[in-house]
């Protein structure tokens, strides 16, 4: 059924992606310490549910997402820093689990696109503006003036 649905309309796919996602975090998973729980929620939003499409474990209803949520909380209770928790999860599940890809060479183009395009585009516009201004203000050369006079005389 899934295969058939996944080729559905725009909406259909979107809905399929989120199908059955009713409630994610359940009260029994939550940590008693609100500060720690808030950190767990923030981390969960950056971790992908591996069996869903583009859903974080914070939003997903899947069992695997629940396991991951509990894992994150266990590590936090054990005293890990946010970074250590993420590193631990990546070491077990691979980089696929990160919704925000790492800054590394392979992802250079991904992270670089906005900066490069903005700079290149800005430079292009600036250069273009300057050349246009010089073009606009440049007066006619002696030859051109003579040619123009000739044309004007002809009329």
């Amino acid at each position: 059924m899934t295969a058939r649905l996944s080729i559905g309309s725009l909406v259909l796919l979107l809905s399929l992606v989120f199908a059955g996602a009713a409630l994610a975090v359940k009260p029994d998973e939550m940590l008693a310490d609100p500060a720690l729980e808030a950190r767990a929620r923030a981390l969960s939003e950056g971790l992908r549910c591996m069996v869903c499409q583009n859903q974080s474990i914070d939003e997903s209803d899947a069992d695997l997402a629940r396991d991951l949520r509990i894992l994150v909380r266990q590590r936090l209770v054990a005293g890990d820093s946010d970074r250590q928790v993420m590193d631990y999860v990546v070491s077990r599940y691979g980089e696929f689990v990160l919704l925000k890809p790492r800054f590394d060479l392979r992802n250079a183009l991904l992270w670089g696109t906005p900066v490069i395009l903005l700079l290149a585009g800005g430079l292009f516009i600036a250069l273009n503006a300057r050349s246009r201004r010089t073009l606009a203000t440049k007066s006619l050369s002696a030859d051109e003036q003579a040619a123009l006079d000739a044309i004007l005389r002809r009329d």
Binding site: I7, L14, A19, E45
Partner: protein, 663 residues
């Protein structure tokens, strides 16, 4: 009826071939008769496609399960509205809707294009016909909705329950009107490239079409966002899902196009860029169609296992995008660049707008495709999700939004930035005040939240400042001001409305994200819970029976300050037996501009139920702003100089003397 529809579809395909070839040859040979063929053929092609679509819709309405498509996506017990909307709630039907709208736009050009130069009109219709031919062939070859089953099943397999919603009636048609509407801009651009020149009528025509497409796309995206918000049950309004990005990219590019087309129309500058942008915008629409239709999003490998449809669309994509860009590379140098302008001018502001919008488009594009590329070229898989887009998109949008109020106030050709800044002083002071009030008096406000509120106020007041300045505020009496205001071109109001709408959307997003609260808890009947000053009492779970589902409805009472119930919210879990699927019906109560949102979870053994509650301040503004942007576009369209098909008046519009630029 069904066979008539099938036959009409084949005929429409044949006509689209005629529409492609005959006018094109006619324009080449400068043969008026051949060129004139395009119009009637386009109208007839639309009529046939409409007939075909009506045949499919009637098969859905009458639950004709002898059609495989109806059998797979409908059920006799479905309410009539969902039977009909189910027509496009599936791959085949939605592709038929796609070509219906494509031919509709072609017919509009044929009907209203009598004032276009004959060869331009012929070429536009030919290109439009070619797109149509490719997609008709796609439908007939890989996605035919008219395939019969023999013997016909007694009962259908039901429409996906999540789609059994009013949203399906509105969202896809609006979205497609936008998506496919940009095909007109594309056809005009390619036609201009074929002709090798851009004349005045080209410029006058492209902008209204862009406005129409943009207006519908805005509505489609806003509607889709609201639908996802209430249907998916956890109150998100934008997920940066690839499918959403597929519609968002043409919107961003289309917004850029809308603005560069103004420069082209008013000042005949940026012609080549506008033409390229028109090609790119529709290319992104095609890319979106490919991403959504081919299944490539699930996984590159899933795409590889059943590639028929995907490869077909990929070929269409390559043909049209590659072909048009090649033509552009070949012909662009022949086109004459337009007027000159100083960097600090309305044109300059619009160029900056285009820089940021195209960069944002490219960012979304790269973010959407990057995982596919990595997966295709290495064994690794990576994810690019909401955190990436939030981190890259927001920093691109903030400077753009800060600049928005400056644009309309700057004069054409050479503007005075200081004078404009002076006029915006009041708006700036007010947004500073809004920031301070937010930071000091609203609990839980972060610096970012205060800045966001300030930005929203800046946008709204900036738009109002534009109107006030153009009406001569402060210089003339109230009576003259009112008269001037009434005399302003409608497009000035359109701009102000759209920019105000943008501000409201920003306010909605900031309000929801920064001041929203959430509670997840397990409740027993009779218990109360408090959320951001609202008290809710859980009355209990009541089972109910719908036409094709059963549900457990959880009822909540909103308790007023006096302790008595002042309203009710109910949220349900529905079970659709045919597909064995469960959906969540969220409970929403709108209070002013804000909403209380309730979603039901699993029931416990002791009669308790998991409840997730949200308080979403100002959330309705997110979509309200979208509606206002649509209203702005509609207002602009009513401007005489832009009206689609309005005979081109030779009478020169005298610029309102109070327009920007005067001290």
């Amino acid at each position: 009826m069904v066979e008539t529809g099938h036959f009409a579809l084949v005929l429409a395909f044949a006509l689209s071939l005629v529409q492609t070839i005959v006018p094109l040859v006619g324009a080449r040979l400068d043969n008026q008769r051949l060129m004139a063929v395009g119009g009637p053929v386009a109208v007839t092609g639309f009529a046939l496609t409409a007939l075909s679509f009506a045949a499919l819709a009637s098969a859905y309405a009458t639950s004709d399960f002898s059609l495989a498509n109806v059998w797979e996506n409908s059920h006799s017990l479905q309410p009539m509205i969902y039977k009909i909307t189910g027509t496009w709630g599936n791959h085949e039907g939605s592709m038929l809707l796609w070509v219906l709208i494509l031919t509709f736009f072609g017919a509009l050009v044929a009907a209203f294009g009598s004032n276009l130069p004959a060869s331009l009109r012929a070429n536009v219709l030919a290109v439009q016909g070619a797109i149509g031919a490719a997609f008709f062939l796609f439908i007939l070859a890989t996605s035919n909705p008219f395939i019969r089953l023999n013997p016909a099943p007694i009962e259908g397999r039901d429409l996906n329950p999540i789609l059994q919603d009013l949203g399906l009636a509105i969202h896809p048609p609006l979205l497609y009107l936008g998506y496919v509407g940009f095909s007109i801009c594309f056809s005009f651009s390619v036609a201009a490239l074929i002709e090798g020149r851009i004349d005045a009528s080209w410029a006058r025509w492209v902008r209204p079409w862009t406005l129409v497409a943009w207006m519908f796309l805005t509505g489609g995206i806003a509607m889709g966002s609201y639908w996802a918000y209430y249907e998916l049950g956890w109150g998100g309004f934008w997920f940066w899902d690839p499918v959403e990005n597929a519609s968002f990219m043409p919107w961003l590019a289309g917004t850029a196009l809308l603005h560069s087309a103004i420069v082209m129309e008013k000042r005949s500058a940026l012609k080549i860029w506008t033409l390229l942008l028109a090609i790119l915008t529709f290319s992104l629409s095609l890319l979106g169609t490919f991403l959504v239709r081919s299944g490539v999003l699930t996984s590159v490998h899933a795409f590889a296992t059943d590639p028929t449809r995907g490869v077909f669309i990929l070929c269409i994509l390559t043909l049209f995008i590659g072909g048009s860009l090649a033509l552009f590379a070949l012909r662009a140098s022949r086109l004459t660049a337009g007027g000159l302008f100083h960097p600090i001018s309305r044109e300059g502001a619009l160029v900056l707008n285009n820089l940021f919008l195209t960069t944002a488009t490219a960012t979304v594009l790269v973010g959407t495709l990057y995982p596919l590329v990595v997966e295709a070229f290495s064994a690794d898989k990576i994810s690019v999700g909401a955190p990436f887009f939030n981190l890259t998109f927001a920093p691109l949008m903030v400077p753009l939004l800060v600049m928005v109020p400056f644009g309309p106030l700057l004069a054409w050709k050479r503007g005075d930035i200081l004078a404009v800044a002076q006029r915006l002083m009041a708006a700036f002071a007010a947004s500073l005040l809004a920031m301070l009030v937010t930071a000091l008096f609203i609990s839980g406000a972060t610096v970012l939240a205060a800045l966001g509120v300030g930005l929203a106020v800046w946008l709204v007041l900036g738009a109002l400042t534009d109107l006030a300045v153009k009406a001569g505020f402060g210089n003339v009496s109230v009576g003259i001001m009112a008269r001037r205001l009434a005399g302003l071109p409608r497009s000035v109001f359109g701009t102000a409305l759209a920019h105000m709408g943008l501000g409201l959307t920003v306010l909605g997003i900031v309000g929801t994200l920064c001041f929203g609260t959430e509670k997840i808890l397990s409740m027993h009947p009779g218990e109360t819970v408090e959320l951001s000053g609202h008290t809710l009492r859980f009355a209990g779970i009541y089972p109910a029976q719908g036409p094709n589902y059963s549900e457990d409805r959880g009822r909540f009472e909103l308790i007023g300050p006096a302790g008595n119930p002042v309203g009710e919210i109910s949220s349900a879990k529905r079970f659709y037996p045919v597909r064995q699927m469960t959906t969540t019906e969220s409970g929403i109560k709108t209070l002013g501009l804000s909403q209380l949102y309730i979603s039901l979870g699993d029931e416990g053994k002791d009669g308790s139920v998991v409840v997730r509650l949200w308080w979403k301040p100002l959330v309705t503004l997110i979509w309200g702003g979208g509606l206002m942007m649509m209203a702005g576009a509609a207002m602009s369209l009513m401007d005489r100089r832009l009206r689609v098909g309005a005979p081109s008046r030779r009478r020169k519009r005298i610029e309102v003397p109070a327009s920007a630029g005067m001290p």
